[in-house]
Amino acid sequence: MSIVVRIPTQLRTLTQNQEEVTASGDTVRALVDDLGGRFPGLRERIVDDKGIRRFINVFLNDEDVRFLDKLDTAVKAGDVVSLIPAVAGG
């Protein structure tokens, strides 16, 4: 299944400046793995061996997957995944 993933500005250097990419998989974990295979370095910016890193959030539509099933959250056709990193600038 192909899901749209929105890439934040900070990570677009890893996606050849693409704002949105598509990824395949039935869970958030599978999507992240798929992205990691195609965009080297991206997976490590999202997850570490403990799960989703603590300074980035993964939203499925408008819900933070940490409050769903984390990396095991199921995704379905039409869903949009957004990566929202902490931003400090002012």
């Binding site: 500005t9 890193r53 603590r54 939203f59 929202i84 902490a86 600038g89 002012g90």
Partner: protein, 387 residues
């Protein structure tokens, strides 16, 4: 034979319960489980009254009281200037079926002479009525809301990209006290977005430059300057007395420090941040909604923090985000509308898209969760400073 005034008053006093000022003061301080009603004229009330008193002028008592105090068994204490009007009002309330009414004797004149606590509600001057006329026309603001703005104290963290537009609109709106924390001086490269500053003030401390602009805009505003970097040492002193914090600072260590202090001190923070063409805004109200650590428990390690110096930012972007922050601060002061509590608003200026994401309180949050692990301030290493 018709009764004289003296007859009427002595008969009235026999039929009601009276309370001394000493006893009233003690009850206000120890068990304020009653409704205090000031029955004097509007002018007298506006010149000063007992804190927390409801105002119903005696002339409107019969017509208004039932809509304002629905429970006829509620304990009520009435007062006026000397104890006469409140005695007559107590008799009227008894006739209307109110069962627990007392009248203070003497009244407010003595209360004031004894220097018991009183408040003087703000009365707008003629100039203020002109200046804020477009606010006064809005029922959601009106005289009461404008007075709340004039009495409000807002602390701006940073007089930079976000702080500039926030400060200008908050001052224009008549927020009475604006604290500004910024250690830096105005640089020519700031002027592309930091609209509170000016070419003629390059080299001046940002707090001085901002104060100058705000004074020019609205002399009602008191500007309190803090030309220092916010640290665990000074944050308690600087936060003291402010109602709302507008966070437009430029680095992670300060963001986390601000969050932790605001949770400890129970102060709302309007959070804004920007990067290149994108911005984020949300409002953190401690224990009502999530805090910054519910969202991001820890700052990123220095090597993954965006390279701020090289990042660049579209000049108008902080204008949009900063003005949204000012809007949130004003709503919090007015207690109107739906603040961005539990909602993260993201803005993409290139795509011209606003999106909203749900933020939830994390039970395991190290700061505001069920078993917080952070009990003191943390000074994270400063690894990123964006001018």
């Amino acid at each position: 034979m018709a009764k004289s005034f003296a007859d009427l008053m002595s008969e009235t006093r026999r039929g009601i319960r009276e309370v001394s000022l000493e006893a009233l003061k003690e009850r206000i301080e120890t068990r304020p489980d009653f409704i205090l009603v000031d029955v004097r004229e509007g002018e007298e009330f506006r010149a000063g009254h007992i804190p927390g008193a409801l105002h119903i002028a005696r002339g409107h008592l019969e017509s208004k009281v039932e809509s304002l105090i629905g429970n006829k068994d509620a304990p009520i204490v009435l007062y006026c200037a000397g104890g006469t009007r409140s005695a007559l009002a107590a008799r009227t309330l008894a006739e209307l079926g109110y069962t627990q009414v007392e009248s203070a004797n003497p009244g407010f004149v003595q209360w004031k002479d004894r220097r018991y606590p009183m408040v003087v509600p703000r009365v707008l001057t003629g100039e203020q009525r002109d200046r804020y006329s477009r606010h006064l026309l809005l029922p959601e603001v009106g005289e009461k809301g404008q007075a709340a703005l004039l009495d409000a104290k807002v602390l701006l963290l940073g007089a930079g990209g976000l702080g500039s537009p926030s400060a200008l609109y908050l001052a224009a709106a008549g927020v009475g006290t604006l604290g500004i924390v910024d250690p830096d001086t105005v640089d020519a490269s700031n002027l592309q977005r930091q609209v509170i500053h000016a070419t003629s003030r390059v080299g001046q401390p940002k707090v001085d430059s901002a104060e100058f602009a705000l004074r020019e805009l609205n002399p009602d505003v008191k500007v309190v300057k803090y030309q220092e970097r916010l640290t665990s040492e000074n944050i308690d002193r600087i936060f003291e007395g402010y109602d709302v914090i507008v966070d437009g600072c430029d680095n992670f260590p300060t963001r986390y420090l601000v969050n932790d202090a605001s949770v400890m001190k129970n102060k709302p923070v309007v959070h804004g941040s920007i990067f290149r063409f994108e911005g984020q805004v949300t409002t953190f109200v401690p224990r009502v909604g999530p805090c910054y650590r519910c969202l991001y428990p820890q700052p990123p390690p220095p090597e993954l923090a965006p390279s701020c110096q090289e990042a660049g930012v579209l000049g108008v972007l902080p204008g949009i985000i900063g003005v949204i922050q000012a809007t949130e601060a004003i709503k919090l002061i007015l207690k109107k509308g739906q603040p961005l509590v539990g909602r993260l608003l993201t803005y993409d200026s290139l795509g011209m898209k606003f999106r909203e994401l749900k933020l939830r309180r994390d039970k395991e949050c190290p700061m505001c969760g069920e078993a917080p692990s952070i009990t003191g301030y943390i000074d994270y290493e400063h690894f990123c400073t964006l001018g």
